[in-house]
Amino acid sequence: MRTRLLLMGVAAAWLLADRWEPPITADSLPLALVGSREPTICLMPNRNEYAQVRGGGAGHDIGGEPRTTGEWAPADVHGGDVMPARTVFDPYPTFDGVAVDSEAGRTFFTDSSLSSVLSYPATAGANSRETTEHETRVMGPDTGIGFVAGMDVDPQRREVYAVNNDGGGVVVFGYDQTGPVRPVRQLETPHQSWDVSISARRNEVAISVQQLSGIVIYRRGASDMQPPLRSIRGYSTGLADPHGLDFDDSRNELVVANHGNWTELRPYSPYDRLSHEPQSYQPGRFEPPSIKVFDASAGGDVRPLRSIAGARTGLNWPMGVEVDASRDEIIVANYGDSSVRVFRRSASGDVEPVRMIKGDRTQIVGPVDVTVDPTRDELWVANYADHSAVVFDRDASGNATPKRIVRNAPEGTPALAFTNASAAAYDSKRDALIVPN
């Protein structure tokens, strides 16, 4: 007991000793650090509007007049509009989702850092060090683009779907929209929606939802608060923190990548009251990362038709997936080891990929999504941890060199890869800030 008390005393003394050293006094705080209320140095225009869709989750706004008006805070509050002494910020886009309309010759990306959707010609890119010029860029508070994740295109309707991961649902734009435009429609979806896939054959849209450990499926063209036609969720599905998904129209299947995190989902919002009802409890668990394949018409708590999982697969934070029907392949952006892994469509169990693109020459760094351009026989990979997307021959394998590189910043620009973070800790031993991303 005495030893414990002594240790506590030492720790308390350590916490308090030599800790506050006024490098400057309050009165001598440089005036330069206290800015005026001019918005000239603000990084984003219309900060007030952005705050509703970026950082911390948007929700369904039913409008109405504000019931509280007037300035806040009171005038006697200290501090105020203090300028940062240091800033760590990435002014360039961060590619997340990628989709190609092969016939139209257009490639689209979501940008999760600056909240935009960009498009390029499908032949874009070079081996240049310079930034690749985009054709269109949808960006601004009216777009409804927040912490955006996966995407897909609907070639029949010439529409681009972008999924907001932290609230804001799915926003849909026309191919040629650019600038601070409103979406042609918006569809509310469950919180933590991540990817979207459009089935022309079924006239449906499927959305993966991380916290639901499930898939919700809507009629194509659904908008606003229209409910899903059905959902795939429950213990039998094996879904756990799903990310990328893709309809395989030729086989009427739906392919889903899982990270393997599972926990119960109960009502949790500030508006859901405390429950006093006894509830059964299933604790959280870690499952192996996997690729699950479902019948595309499935709904409810159903078993997958097939599951690819196990040590031989090498799956490691599998993100976007693409079905390449003509080559009979499932292609996976394998973020955890910066690779692209390709499996047979009929693969099941603990199987090795039939091929893999990996190595220093590939310039694949933290891949988040993949897509195929069948017209040009090319494979696109969107890098999250580098300011680039890399384009390969469709059958590339091994430590292959990309045919072209699309850059959203000059070569060598460090990627902060810092999106939608909401916590920090200071490590005094290393004088470092630690941020869960």
Partner: protein, 287 residues
């Protein structure tokens, strides 16, 4: 700039959904709640790459569902976890590993805890600070460090003068007993449109709207004293266009250098503010 180190990959058990973090300076460990797997992970302070955690708290005895926020008390060797779905604060032994029960739990109507998005501990004053949001109480709640069960908070900072609305991480400077809070928006968290996999009803949206002040605007870093109580504004504030803050959800402190770090999800950035007066025990001492 690139980060100096990255801990990532399947072998770490981390996920893309982590809303809290704590560094234990005494034992040089990093603790992280993983919301989507109901787990607490503890890493070496110098961990890097696909390095596994040295301890994992997960399982039916833990009562964890969706842990969102975390604090470490190295003086009393405890880990405190706020769980938004369990509507509770759980306190574990710092060395807990595996499927272990919490030492204490704060839960129930009297606590006013609901959507617990921030937790901090002041081991000097023996107090816990919780940032919690509900239709009835959007505020900062303090408890005695050893409180357990359904107990009323010692103090409640809540009300229109506080400006509290949509906030997340909270930190305490034990040297001054000052609370630092990262608020993402002046508007209360909007009602998410779905309850599980079904859209909510118009009546639910109307009820949420009625509970809102209707105030809007970018967020802030706010500072209160740990013994503040009631509908009181912050004693100090960082907010405005020059601050560059849009939606700060994270806050960390370096009292020795007089620095406050704000992690801003709105601009995908972090900012360092040199505000030594915020850490001066003689400053902001009285209203």
């Amino acid at each position: 700039m690139k980060p100096e180190r990255v801990i990532e990959g399947q072998g770490t058990y981390l996920s893309r959904t982590m809303h809290g973090i704590a560094h234990d300076e005494v034992n040089d460990e990093i603790s992280i709640p993983v919301a989507l797997s109901g787990a607490i992970l503890v890493f070496r302070g110098g961990a890097s790459g696909e390095e596994p955690p040295i301890r994992v708290i997960q399982g039916s005895r833990t009562r964890l569902i969706r842990p969102q926020t975390i604090a470490v008390d190295p003086v009393h060797d405890e880990i405190l976890v706020g769980d938004t779905t369990a509507r509770a604060i759980f306190v574990f032994d710092r060395m807990a590993n595996g499927d272990v029960a919490p030492k204490r739990a704060l839960f129930g109507e009297k606590t006013r805890l609901l959507d617990v998005v921030g937790v901090a501990v002041d081991p000097v004053r023996n107090m816990i600070v919780a940032a919690s949001r509900s239709a009835a109480t959007i505020g900062l709640l303090t408890f005695n460090r050893t409180d357990s069960g359904d107990v009323a908070p010692r103090t409640v900072i809540a009300g229109p003068k506080t400006g509290l609305a949509h906030f997340r991480q909270v930190a305490v400077d034990p040297g001054t007993g000052r609370i630092f809070l990262a608020q993402q928006s002046m508007r209360e968290k909007l009602l998410e449109p779905y309850r599980l996999d079904r859209p909510r009803t118009p009546a639910e949206f109307e009820e949420a709207r009625e509970a809102s002040t209707g105030r809007t605007g970018p967020g802030f870093i706010g500072v209160w004293n740990i013994d503040d109580n009631g509908d009181v504004p912050p004693r100090a504030l960082i907010q405005g266009p020059a601050s560059r803050l849009i939606a700060p959800g994270g806050v960390a402190l370096n009292p020795k250098r007089g620095e406050v770090y704000a992690v801003d999800g709105g601009s995908s950035a972090y900012y360092t503010y040199l505000v030594p007066q915020f850490f001066n025990p003689q400053w902001l001492g009285s209203r």
